[in-house]
C-alpha cells in the first residue's frame, strides 16, 4: 500500500535526496487537484442539477445532490401535502403535513391522525422532510413538449452524413495529391492551404446568399455541404498516404486494377488509422457546430440540438430544469468520445497542431 502511494506521489525530493517535499511537488499537486475540480466540477454540477425539480433549482443555498421534499396523501385532502419536521407548541418535534401557509404561519396536520384539528406553526419552526430523488421527468418531458427527438435526429443526421461525405471527398483529394504527378498539383495545394485562413466568421454573409440561391436555406444539406471539405482532413490523410509505397500501386496496375480500384481496395484500407482520426474529429466538429446551423436553419422542426438549446435558453422565462437535462443529453456523445477515443484525438492534435 505504502509503495503504491509512494509511486503515485513520487516527487522531486524523493528522487534526488530522499527528503521531504520540494516546493515544486506541492505546486504540482495543488495544480493537478485544482485542475481536476475546475475541469470536471462544472460538468458534474450540471449533471446533478439536471436531476433537480424546478423548486429545488430555485433554492439558495443549493444542495449538491438532487433532493426533493417528501409528500404524502392525507385523507380529506385532494392534493398531496408536503411533509415537515415541525416543532410543536409543546416543544416536541413531530412529522406533520402542511395544508396551507398563511403569512408567517403554517397550518399543519398530523398525517397519522387526519381527524385532529390543524395546528398553527411558525414557518421558522419547520423543516421540510427531504430525500434523494432524481427528477427523471426533466429528461422525458422534453421529448414530448419540445420535439426534442426531432432535434436529436437532425443532429445525428447532420453529423453522420457530413462525416461520411467528409471521409470520401477528402480521401479522394488526398489520394490525388499524394499519389499522382500532374499539372496544377501545387496550385491545388495552395488553394487548400488558403482555405485554412478563411474561417466561417469571415464569409458567413455571402455563404448564406449562396446557400439560399441553391435553395438550401432551411435545409439540413445546407448545413452539411459547406463543411465537408476540410483542409485539415486533406492534410491529415495526405500525410498518411505519402507513407504508402508507390510500388504497391504499380503492382496493382500490373494486375490490371483500375485507378478507382486502387483507391478503393488498396489505399483506403491502408489509410484506415488516419481515416479513423478524421472521422472522430469530424463527428465532434459537426455535433458541436453552432453558428452556421443557427444561420441556415430558421424553422423549428429543422433545429439541431445546439440551435434548439440556444433558442430555448435565450427565451425570457428559461425553463432551466429542461435546459439542463437537454444539455446533458447533448453532452453524451462527446463524453463517450472522450472516454473511449480521447487517445486518437490527443495524438491527432499533438501530431498536426490542427483542430
Amino acid at each position: 500500500m505504502s509503495r503504491a502511494a509512494s509511486f503515485i506521489f513520487r516527487r522531486r525530493g524523493s528522487q534526488k535526496h530522499g527528503r521531504g517535499w520540494h516546493w515544486t511537488d506541492i505546486v504540482t499537486w495543488l495544480w493537478l487537484i485544482g485542475g481536476l475540480i475546475v475541469m470536471f466540477g462544472p460538468a458534474l454540477w450540471l449533471i446533478f442539477s439536471s436531476f433537480k425539480t424546478p423548486a429545488a433549482l430555485a433554492e439558495f443555498p443549493p444542495s449538491i445532490l438532487p433532493y426533493a421534499s417528501q409528500q404524502v396523501t392525507v385523507a380529506g385532502h385532494e392534493q398531496p401535502l408536503t411533509l415537515y419536521d415541525a416543532k410543536m407548541p409543546d416543544g416536541t418535534t413531530k412529522r406533520m403535513a402542511e395544508i396551507r401557509r398563511i403569512g408567517l404561519f403554517s397550518q399543519m396536520i398530523d398525517p397519522a391522525d387526519p381527524g385532529a384539528p390543524p395546528v398553527r406553526i411558525n414557518i421558522d419552526d419547520r423543516q421540510p422532510v427531504r430525500k434523494l430523488s432524481f427528477a427523471t421527468e426533466n429528461y422525458t418531458e422534453p421529448f414530448v413538449h419540445f420535439d426534442f427527438f426531432r432535434y436529436l435526429w437532425n443532429s445525428v443526421f447532420v453529423t453522420v452524413m457530413a462525416t461520411v461525405i467528409t471521409l470520401v471527398v477528402n480521401s479522394m483529394a488526398a489520394f490525388a495529391l499524394s499519389k499522382y504527378e500532374f499539372r496544377g498539383r501545387s496550385f491545388a495545394m495552395l488553394i487548400i492551404l488558403a482555405t485554412l485562413m478563411v474561417p466561417l466568421s469571415v464569409i458567413m454573409v455571402p455563404l448564406y446568399s449562396i446557400i439560399s440561391s441553391l435553395g438550401l436555406f432551411n435545409n439540413l444539406w445546407g448545413v452539411i455541404l459547406p463543411t465537408v471539405a476540410t483542409p485539415t482532413g486533406v492534410f491529415i490523410l495526405r500525410q498518411y498516404m505519402l507513407t504508402i509505397p508507390d510500388e504497391l500501386l504499380d503492382a496493382a496496375r500490373m494486375d490490371k486494377a483500375s485507378e478507382w480500384q486502387i483507391y478503393w481496395r488498396i489505399v483506403l484500407p491502408l489509410t484506415a488509422p488516419a481515416l479513423a482520426v478524421l472521422a472522430i474529429f469530424s463527428v465532434v466538429w459537426r455535433w458541436n457546430d453552432f453558428l452556421w446551423p443557427l444561420i441556415v436553419l430558421s424553422r423549428k422542426e429543422l433545429y439541431t440540438l445546439q440551435v434548439g438549446l440556444s433558442i430555448y435558453s435565450g427565451e425570457l422565462n428559461v425553463q432551466w430544469h429542461f435546459i439542463l437535462a437537454m444539455t446533458v443529453v447533448t453532452m453524451i456523445p462527446v463524453v463517450l468520445v472522450f472516454i473511449f477515443l480521447q487517445r486518437f484525438i490527443t495524438t491527432g492534435i499533438a501530431g498536426t497542431g490542427l483542430k
Binding site: M39, V169, N170, Y180, T195, V198, A229, Q261, F290, L309
Partner: protein, 344 residues
Amino acid sequence: MTVSNADKPTLPERLGTIVKTPVGVVMGLIDAPMRALQRLTGLSGMALFFLAPNMLIFGIFVLLPLGINVVYSVTGGSALFLPERTYVGGDQYARLFDCGNYLDALTCQEDAFWTAVGNTFWFVVLQVTFMILAALVTALILNRNLAARSFWRAVFFFPVLLSPVVVGLIWRWILQRQGLLNFILYPFGMEPYNWLTDRDWSFMAAVGVSLWAHMGFYTLILLAGLQAIPKDLYEAAAMDGTRPGRVFWRITLPLLAPNLIVVIVLALIRAVQVFDEVYILTGGGPGTSTLFLTQYIYETGFVSQPRNPGLAAAASILMGLVLVVLTLLQLGLGKRGENKGKRR
C-alpha cells in the same frame, strides 16, 4: 451435433460484413464507368477526377463567397441578390471608419463596430496572455515524472471536446444568482450576486470561460513540444548541478520556443473570432460589454432590421485581413521552427 465456434463470425465481423457488402456492391458497380473514364482521360485525368469534388466544394463554399464578399462590401442596400444591389464604392468602409476619436467608440458613426473592435482587442490581449501562461504551467507539470500522466492530460483536455453551447450553458448556470459560484462564496460572507449582469464581471467571465474551454488544446501542443526535448540535455545539466530555474530559462524555454510561437499565433487567430460560447453565456451583454467582432458581423448581416449585408461584409473583410496576417505569420514561423528542428 456440435458446431465449432471458430467457424462462426464474431459480432464485429458480422457487423463489418453487413456494412461492407452493400458498399462493396455499389463500389463494384461504379468500377465499370470508372474504367471507361480512365480509358478516356488517362492517369492525370483520373487525378483531377479524384480532386474534383473537394475543389468544387472549396470553390462554391469558400472561394466564391470570398469574391462575393468583396462585391457586397462595395454595394449598398439590404438585398442579398447581387443584381439588386447598388454600387456605393468605399462608402461601407468609410462608414465603419467614420470616427471623431478612434479611442472612444461613442464618437463613431458605427459605434457598435468600434465597441466590438475594442472589446475584441482587450479580449485577445487578456485571453491569450492567461491562456499561454496557464497552458505552459500545465504542460510543464504534466511533463514531470507523474504517475497516470495520460489521466491528468485527459482531465485538462476534457472541456475542449464540449460544444460551445454546452460550455456557455454550464457556466451561465454556475454564474447565475442561485449558482455554484455564489454557493462557494456564501460561507465567506458574500451576498449572492448576479455576475453576468455586471459589465466588468461578465467580460471577465467571457475571458475565463473561453480559457476553461480551450486551454487543454494548447496544453497538448506544448506538452508534445516538451516531450520532444532530448532528455540528455537535462541529464547533462543535472550532472553540472545547474539550478532548476536556470535549466528552465536556458534549456526548456529556448527549445520550446518554436512550439510556443505556433501556439501563441493559433491562440490569437482563435481569440479574434471569439463568438459561440460567449454568445450563449452573455448574448453580448449586458449592454455591449461582451459584444465581439463575429457577433457584430452576425447581427449586422442577419439579425438587425433592415439587415445590412454590405456593412457586415466590409467588417468581415477587415477581420479577414487581420486573420490572414496572423496565419501567414504562423506559417512562416512554423516553417522556421521545422527547420530548426531539422538542424537539431
